[in-house]
């Protein structure tokens, strides 16, 4: 895209881009370096454990997002559907399977090598289970699963935690030892988890700066970049810690100078609406989608999607003193592993804590983990906060389900509704 050349980039963005490139290079050259590779998921990502065995971490969801942003997923999805995959199911899965059928090329232009192990961290999303059964059928590689029970009653129990720890000890760790040839070293894991906690402190600081007025960040479109290192292959590394130091400085500068977030078209000047967003973004039209917000002066001050790989702003930190138990608690606490009443409470809290004007739900066509029940959630949040909600429908990486005109129309109507509501409050006063 020619517009890319004109995109405004800060130092932290350049650093992150280099980190991601290095990781892709390490992945695509693993056959030459002899490094082993695990494929796994963002929610319930056990990056410290994977790295503890000197393995690389490859995340098919991130690969689908990367392909989506480069407008490749439409073709990949069609390829998967031609192969018998239903039009009704998760488009991350079909993008991944379709990509395999089309040469499996990574963003650096080199082919992805086959994973040495699939780490099926089954956390908060049913589709994960089938996704890796499907990949296992393709790769014929060892697959190890961690079943993370759902917090159906809004909390986890010791039985759930013990179950996960037992799976880690008796299945995941022995499998990793066998595949990597590296013996498990709990002290190494502790060291990495201490680094994780440091980075997590900084990530929370970043996310919570959206309480400022004007907000120095966009906590949805911007936050998907901010969570990048922690949600992907860098949690538990010094690189991630260093990245957040740089990011913090940039944001502190914006706070000190009453500046808004940096959008692809530069600093967002006017902030007329403060919005909380529930649900993942659309990736195939990400910039266009974001532009619909900043053109209208709408800044997202909190989002649930930025908690999908860990709910750090609710207090969780990886704990080096209890590494395996802490990994289990991390998995249990991911956003979509929490029941709907808890998700409502979280969104209500965001509306209040971030002094937001309302809740926008982006219902994703092919993601029932997020989407099933969101209308009910939105109504409940509206009832509790008195703030208006709006509902739009798009998809993750299937361009056929992003209708720009419809989305724009709905967003504009929503912002007008907020305006009217404000006027109503003023005249009543």
């Amino acid at each position: 895209m020619s517009a890319d050349k004109n995109v405004i980039k800060e130092e932290s963005m350049i650093i992150q881009k280099a980190m991601i490139s290095r990781n892709y290079d390490a992945i695509t050259s693993k056959l030459e370096t002899g490094q082993k590779m695990a494929s796994t998921f963002v929610p319930g990502n056990l990056n410290e454990l994977v790295r503890c065995f000197g393995m690389l971490n490859n995340l098919p969801e991130i690969n689908a997002i990367q392909a989506g942003m480069r407008k490749l997923t439409g073709g990949y999805i069609m390829e998967a559907e031609k192969g018998g995959h239903s039009e009704d199911v998760c488009t991350y899965v079909k993008a991944d399977i379709g990509q395999l059928g089309k040469g499996n090329i990574a963003p650096n232009g080199k082919p992805y090598p086959d994973p040495d192990v699939l780490l099926l961290s089954y956390t908060g999303c049913y589709t994960f289970m089938k996704w890796f059964e499907l990949l296992r059928e393709q790769y014929k590689c060892p697959t190890v699963m961690i079943h993370v029970p759902y917090q159906g009653d809004g909390h986890w129990t010791m039985n759930m935690r013990d179950y996960i720890v037992k799976q880690l000890k008796e299945e995941v760790i022995p499998t990793f030892e066998r595949i990597s040839g590296v013996k498990f070293d709990i002290d190494r894991l502790r060291e990495m988890m201490a680094l994780s906690a440091k980075a997590e402190d900084d990530l929370v600081w970043v996310i919570e700066t959206a309480k400022h007025k004007p907000s120095p960040i966009d906590a949805y479109f911007g936050a998907v970049y901010y969570v990048g290192p922690i949600f992907s292959a860098f949690r538990g590394t010094q690189e991630a810690v260093d990245y957040y130091k740089v990011l913090k400085k940039e944001i502190q500068y914006r706070i000190d100078n009453k500046m808004g977030p940096i959008t692809p078209e530069g600093e967002m000047k006017e902030q007329k609406y403060r919005i909380v967003v529930e649900g993942p973004p659309n990736w195939t039209n990400f910039r266009e989608f974001w532009k619909m917000f900043y053109d209208e002066g709408a800044v997202v001050v909190a989002s649930s999607y930025s908690k999908v790989g860990g709910t750090y702003d609710m207090g969780f930190r990886h704990d080096p003193a209890n590494p395996l138990e802490s990994l289990a608690e991390y998995c249990l606490g991911c956003y979509t592993n929490r029941n709907l009443p808890t998700r409502v409470e979280i969104l209500e809290k965001y509306i209040n804590d971030y002094e937001a004007d309302g809740l926008l739900t982006n219902s994703i066509k092919s993601c029932n983990s997020f989407s099933a029940g969101q209308l009910m959630m939105m109504r409940e949040v509206e009832k509790r906060t008195g703030k208006p909600g709006a509902f739009i429908e798009t998809d993750l990486v299937d361009p056929r389900y992003f209708s720009a005109a419809n989305v724009k129309n709905r967003l504009e109507s929503y912002f007008q509704m907020i305006e009217q509501k404000r006027r109503g409050v003023k005249s009543a006063a």
């Binding site: 192969g83 018998g84 995959h85 239903s86 009704d88 199911v89 998760c90 899965v93 099926l120 089954y122 999303c125 049913y126 589709t127 289970m129 089938k130 996704w131 059964e133 499907l134 296992r136 059928e137 014929k140 697959t143 699963m145 079943h147 029970p149 759902y150 159906g152 009653d153 129990t157 039985n159 759930m160 013990d162 179950y163 037992k166 799976q167 008796e170 299945e171 029941n339 709907l340 009443p341 998700r343 409502v344 219902s363 066509k365 092919s366 029932n368 983990s369 989407s371 099933a372 029940g373 969101q374 209308l375 009910m376 409940e380 509902f391 429908e393």
Partner: protein, 386 residues
């Protein structure tokens, strides 16, 4: 009772969206409780042992107009959560004291949370079965989960579930499964005597009545059907897969049969035969229930298959046991489990030279002509080419 009488009785029970049969059961004795559950599997023994009625809630079917339910969901989703909410908001489930939402998929999982918010006076519980099938890992976890479920049922019903009561319930459900598997075997042997639509209504009614009554009814039906003289047709024998959660309209089953297919295997109403072997009666009943699930339960899309070589094995084995000549993959629209599983199962049956077709339905599908044509062509192709 003859088959006609039994089938009519069962059809009346299953089509009654006011659940009169269960309501009358509850009203017949003071203090009785009803515990509703959704597909695919709950240990009904635990509910029965608390003297409560396990009531299968399989959505609203094709006879109910969904008005309120649509307001709770986005465009792209299966129908069963919408119609179940419709049942709830229209008061049809107002006599249900507790609702269980077993693990099937994210839709049913999230419905458990909706239920908590919409019906705060009803005890609602998500029931998570293990996906780890090692006795010491998944088994231990599951025993604790069953203990928690047991305590929740005790609290709701006000009845202490003794080991003795639970063993007695296990015995009754072992008998129930045996009778059901027996009928399934009989159907595979002489499908013209046991039409699937008849079996289906008997199974649906079975999860809406006390197990003791269902056991007698199964015996009566089996005896009557064996004696009945029904003509054998030159139909193709097919297995049906993918319909374990949202159930098809009865007309869809009849349409497949009318199109020249004998359905000799299916995964409808799977709860009543989810366990493939008897639960041991001696010893710790909770551990027995847990370990039977771990070691001897069906393979279905809502269960993880730990080994690649075992994927689809259950279906292929059932096809062989039932001498099915082809498979119809019939999944509800937007059903993640069935539709994500389908390509893998389809590969397995193809590897075994078993022909298959697939289509989607909704519980309120009304247009059967395309189904009849597709199933009929499939049946003909089996006859012609196999």
């Amino acid at each position: 009772m003859g088959t006609q009488e039994i089938v009519t009785k069962c059809q009346t029970i299953y089509e009654d969206l006011n659940f009169t049969y269960a309501r009358e059961w509850k009203a017949a004795k003071a203090g009785r409780k009803v515990i509703g559950f959704m597909p695919v599997y709950v240990p009904m023994e635990l509910i029965h042992a608390a003297n409560a009625l396990p009531l299968g809630i399989m959505g609203g079917g094709d006879q109910m107009e969904v008005i309120h339910g649509d307001a709770y969901y986005q465009s792209y989703i299966c129908r069963i959560p919408r119609s179940t909410i419709e049942l709830g908001v229209t008061g049809r489930l107002d006599f249900v004291d507790m609702m269980l939402f077993p693990f099937v998929c994210d839709v049913i999982r999230n419905l458990s949370g909706i239920w908590k918010m919409m019906f705060p006076n009803v005890v609602s519980r998500f029931f998570d079965t293990p996906q780890n099938f090692e006795e010491k890992i998944g088994g231990t976890y599951y025993i604790h989960e069953l203990q928690e479920l047991k305590e929740a049922i005790e609290e709701t019903t006000g009845t202490k579930i003794t080991d003795e009561a639970l063993r007695n319930s296990i015995k009754l459900y072992n008998e129930n499964r045996k009778l059901i598997w027996g009928l399934y075997d009989a159907r595979a042997k002489e499908p013209w005597k046991f039409p699937t639509w008849e079996l289906y209504v008997i199974m649906r009614a079975g999860i809406m009545m006390p197990v003791e009554e269902h056991n007698q009814l199964l015996k009566d039906y089996a005896a009557a059907a064996h004696q009945e003289d029904r003509p054998k047709r030159d139909n193709s024998r097919i297995a049906l897969n993918g319909s374990f959660c949202e159930q098809p309209p009865l007309n869809l089953i009849k349409s497949i049969e009318m199109a020249g297919c004998y359905i000799v295997e299916d995964d409808y109403v799977l709860v009543n035969r989810f366990l493939t072997e008897d639960v041991p009666v001696d010893g710790d009943p909770l551990a027995n229930l847990a370990l039977t699930y771990i070691k001897h339960s069906v393979e279905t899309a809502c269960k993880y298959v730990p080994k690649e070589e075992d994927k689809g094995k259950f279906l292929v084995n059932r096809i062989k046991q039932c001498a099915a000549e082809g498979v119809i993959f019939a999944a509800p629209s937007f059903c993640d489990p069935a539709l994500l599983d389908r390509p893998m199962l389809s590969h397995r049956v193809t590897e075994n030279s078993i022909p298959s077709i697939s289509f989607k339905y909704a519980e309120n599908s009304g247009q059967m002509q395309p189904i009849r044509e597709q199933a009929g062509t499939f049946a003909d192709s089996i006859k012609l080419w196999n």
